[in-house]
């Protein structure tokens, strides 16, 4: 099974929010959708489930365009956490509603998992704390048994206990390869270790599609000091300068090969030490409003 998004475009009050968005998504995959606040993450999710009508482009499951085959929509679920229609309803009533829309909804699993968090079927969504509301949204989404599940900022502002609970639910849900998740977050760190891929949404479109484990395997962050006051050209050509403090430069090499390692050592740096790699370093350019790195002091 495969979900394909092609050339998706959405304008809101004349302003482009999504332009030519395209990606593929398969069950078993956790995709992180990362972008600054206002980048269009929520708009993309709303457009994928037809809550917003797209101005152009297609969403297809196994080649079947959802606009022409609306029955295929049961393969996708998105519960907009900022605008739930069921806030005043009991959990039991919400489950009944979702079971109508999703025939494969697993009620047993929902209530068993809810009981793990001391949530009773008679409780109303509105009365729950923010953290437990987040758990309920994730549980409803996963128990729908839709193969493509979208979660919008599921960790935002939650304490560690709830965060771990949600990560465990997500990990459990993809482990058998039957479900895929698209998780939107403004914070890349939140998806570290969890996402297979990261899609960056920037300037209304997907600017990059990275596999995080590959990126981590190749990238190296070094602190270097050279004898010469000016920085060797090799550094600028192969790396990104993150920080300069006096003679100490911190450089990120996105593709650190053995050959590059030898070339660097041939330059005989006075000091050379590997630093822990921080994902935000790696993707700093994705967040920068102004392009171009720091100048060497």
């Amino acid at each position: 099974m495969k979900l394909t998004v092609e050339h998706l475009t959405k304008r809101i009050v004349g302003r482009p929010v999504l332009q030519d968005v395209g990606f593929e998504w398969r069950p078993g995959e956790i995709i992180g959708l990362v972008g600054e606040n206002g980048a269009g993450k929520t708009t993309l999710m709303r457009t994928l489930v037809n809550q917003y009508l797209p101005d152009g482009g297609t969403v297809a499951v196994d080649g079947r365009n959802l606009a022409q085959a609306p029955g295929q929509r049961v393969n996708l679920i998105y519960i907009d956490p900022s605008q739930v229609f069921f806030a005043g309803n009991t959990l039991a009533a919400s489950v009944a509603d979702y079971a109508l829309a999703y025939p494969d909804f697993d009620r047993q699993r929902f209530f068993a998992a809810a009981a793990d968090y001391d949530l009773a079927p008679g409780q109303r969504f509105r009365e729950l704390s923010k953290g437990y509301q987040a758990v309920v949204v994730v549980l409803l989404s996963l128990c729908s048994n839709a193969p493509f599940v979208m979660l919008d900022e599921p960790f935002d502002g939650l304490d560690l206990f709830i965060r771990e609970a949600i990560v465990s639910l997500v990990v459990d849900a993809v482990a058998d390869g039957k479900r895929g998740l698209l998780i939107a977050s403004h914070n890349l760190q939140e998806l570290d270790g969890i996402a297979d891929r990261i899609l960056f949404l920037k300037r209304h479109t997907i600017s990059h599609d990275y596999r995080l484990e590959d990126v981590r395997e190749k990238a190296v962050k070094l602190q270097l000091v050279f004898k010469t006051p000016e920085l060797p050209a090799l550094i600028r050509e192969n790396g990104r300068i993150l920080n300069v403090q006096g003679r100490v430069v911190t450089v990120l090499f996105a593709d650190y090969t053995d050959a590059l390692d030898r070339q660097l050592r041939d330059l005989a740096p006075v000091y050379m030490e590997q630093r822990p790699l921080d994902l935000t370093d790696l993707f700093r350019s994705e967040f920068d409003h102004t392009e171009g790195g720091l100048e060497h002091a």
Partner: protein
């Protein structure tokens, strides 16, 4: 459990090292069953694909053996290391020693490092 020395590695590589450490330290004994991929993913809060990749690597390194339908188990301690693996490791060690000497680290320090890293086996 997350070793600060390994934070520059990919998550699957970290998990491989972590399990190897637990084997050499005797925390995991030969014949012991590793948690399922799903269970380990939940425990370590990692993507199941990452855990599966680590398990595959551990199998390739003969640290664990997969018994079909039963799961992954810690392999019996190796009597003699594989020749190919030894020469590959030797090469990496030689390259590292060049860097160590170029940096001016003396032999006593290196010996101390070796004892620190391997000491728990004696």
């Amino acid at each position: 459990m997350d070793d600060a020395r390994f934070t520059h590695l990919a998550y699957y590589q970290r998990l491989v090292l972590q399990i190897k450490q637990q084997v050499t330290a005797g925390i995991l004994a030969p014949g012991e069953k590793l948690p399922s991929v799903r269970e380990m993913a939940k425990r370590s809060q990692l993507n199941p694909n990452t855990v599966a990749k680590a398990y595959k690597q551990l199998e390739a390194d003969r640290v664990v053996e997969v018994r079909p339908g039963l799961g992954s188990f810690i392999a019996a301690a190796q009597k003699a290391p594989q020749q190919a693996e030894v020469s590959a490791l030797h090469q990496r060690f030689a390259a590292l020693m060049v860097a160590i000497q170029a940096a001016g680290v003396d032999q006593a320090t290196v010996q101390q490092w070796v004892e620190e890293e391997m000491g728990h086996e004696s």
